[in-house]
């Protein structure tokens, strides 16, 4: 009887110890990448955009991305930003959006990833830009996208080429 209790206690404590050491392993930040998609190429363009949702369990930054050389020559991270325009009439509509400023696309060095927050790269915002597509992207194609984070972590996800944004 006593032996069994001791055995049980030993087993229990082993489990606890195992759990503790597991949580030590959990200390490395976990990065989740979902809803990775790229737009089907309109003809006559060698540019593409990849959109995705990324969540990091610890504060980090998205600093770079790459795709196989068979997909595109260069990959950059870009944002769309509104630059104010002289002579803006300041019109507002039902949609609550104002117009009059010009949208400019520019490369960014990094995108902040606050711990636990899902950052969406979506049309009109950030996107992973593919420059020099080797072949036009066709709906249904898939390819690997490797993302590099400021912490040094890299993670790879599969992008699916779609005709329209997922709803």
């Amino acid at each position: 009887m006593i032996t069994r209790r001791i055995l049980l206690a030993a087993a229990a404590s082993t489990l606890v110890l195992a759990a503790c050491s597991n949580s030590d392993k959990e200390a490395t930040p976990k990065v989740t990448v979902e809803n990775v998609w790229a737009r089907q190429s309109p003809m006559a363009t060698d540019l593409g955009a990849v959109y995705l949702d990324i969540t990091s369990s610890a504060d980090d930054t998205l600093t770079g991305a790459s795709v196989p050389a068979s997909i595109a020559r260069t990959v950059e991270i870009h944002e769309m930003a509104m630059v104010s325009n002289m002579g803006d009439s300041g019109m507002m509509g039902d949609s609550g959006m104002s117009s009059g400023g010009e949208m400019v696309m520019r490369e960014v060095d990094k995108i902040d990833l606050p711990a636990g927050t899902t950052v969406s790269l979506k049309p009109g915002g950030y996107h992973v830009m593919l420059i020099g597509l080797v072949n036009a992207l066709k709906a249904g194609d898939t390819f690997e996208v490797t993302l590099t984070l400021g912490s040094g972590t890299t993670t790879t996800a599969t992008a699916t080429v779609r005709e329209t944004a997922p709803e």
Partner: protein, 235 residues
């Protein structure tokens, strides 16, 4: 077409009336009054919902007051292999003209806008056949007529592509729409393009009926196109 709720309510009301004689007078008149008020409210609600339920009534895009008139503006039409007459910014009678200023080396806004428009037209179905598209390139140096036809053609088969190397003329047309664009050649050889990225819906008189800022999405476009197409049918 939804059954007219007013008729349904009237029928129920009449049924109640016939049942009334079997009850004492006092109760009848009380019930009569309540029933008639309820019936009236229901009938009103029925009429209102029946009228409003078939088509959305509020435009999501922006409307300017006074409205922008672009019917006097025109640009060379390079849709056909043979350059034809200039294209004037007015829809054909009984049609709507969607106008977008963009460029083909645009990986995000332009394909998104054209894809959203395609989705909106598809969802509306054959009624959207009256919706035409004019794509004006703000980057005529890189966007040749061939490239434009190929690019816009991959989104829709009903379109016009307009292009001019005359910067002043392009700027004048943009100003008519209260749009603008800037093309900058950077020292390293890359080109930066900024543009207002709005989409305009124009009628046959050359009036901008609604302006869609970028981001309105396929649903917003569908909403507004349905309303505007309906208005075409009821003069």
């Amino acid at each position: 077409m939804l059954p007219n709720s007013a008729h349904v309510v009237e029928y129920v009301y009449r049924r109640r009336c016939y049942a009334a004689p079997y009850v004492q007078t006092g109760a009848v008149s009380g019930r009569y009054r309540v029933a008639s008020v309820v019936a009236a409210v229901c009938a009103l609600a029925g009429v209102v919902t029946a009228c409003g339920s078939d088509a959305p009534q509020r435009l999501i895009g922006a409307q300017r007051t006074p409205p922008v008139l672009v019917g006097g503006a025109s640009l060379p039409d390079v849709t056909e292999a043979e350059p034809g007459t200039d294209f004037t910014f007015r829809a054909e009678p009984g049609s709507l003209l969607v106008v977008y200023f963009g460029f083909t080396n645009c990986p995000d806004l332009c394909p998104t806008t054209l894809a959203d428009l395609r989705t909106a037209r598809k969802r509306i179905g054959t009624e959207a056949d009256v919706v035409d598209l004019a794509f004006v390139t703000i980057d005529p140096e890189r966007d040749t007529a061939d490239i434009l036809r190929s690019y816009v053609g991959s989104f829709t088969s009903k379109f016009h592509v307009l292009r001019t190397l005359d910067t002043d003329r392009l700027n004048a047309v943009e100003e008519a729409f209260l749009a603008s664009s800037t093309v900058t050649k950077n020292p390293d050889g890359t080109v930066s393009v900024g543009h207002t990225a709005s989409t305009y819906v124009v009628d046959s008189a050359g009036t901008v009926l609604v302006e869609w800022p970028f981001g309105i999405g396929a649903k917003g476009m569908e909403n507004d196109l349905r309303i505007l197409i309906d208005r075409l049918e009821t003069p």
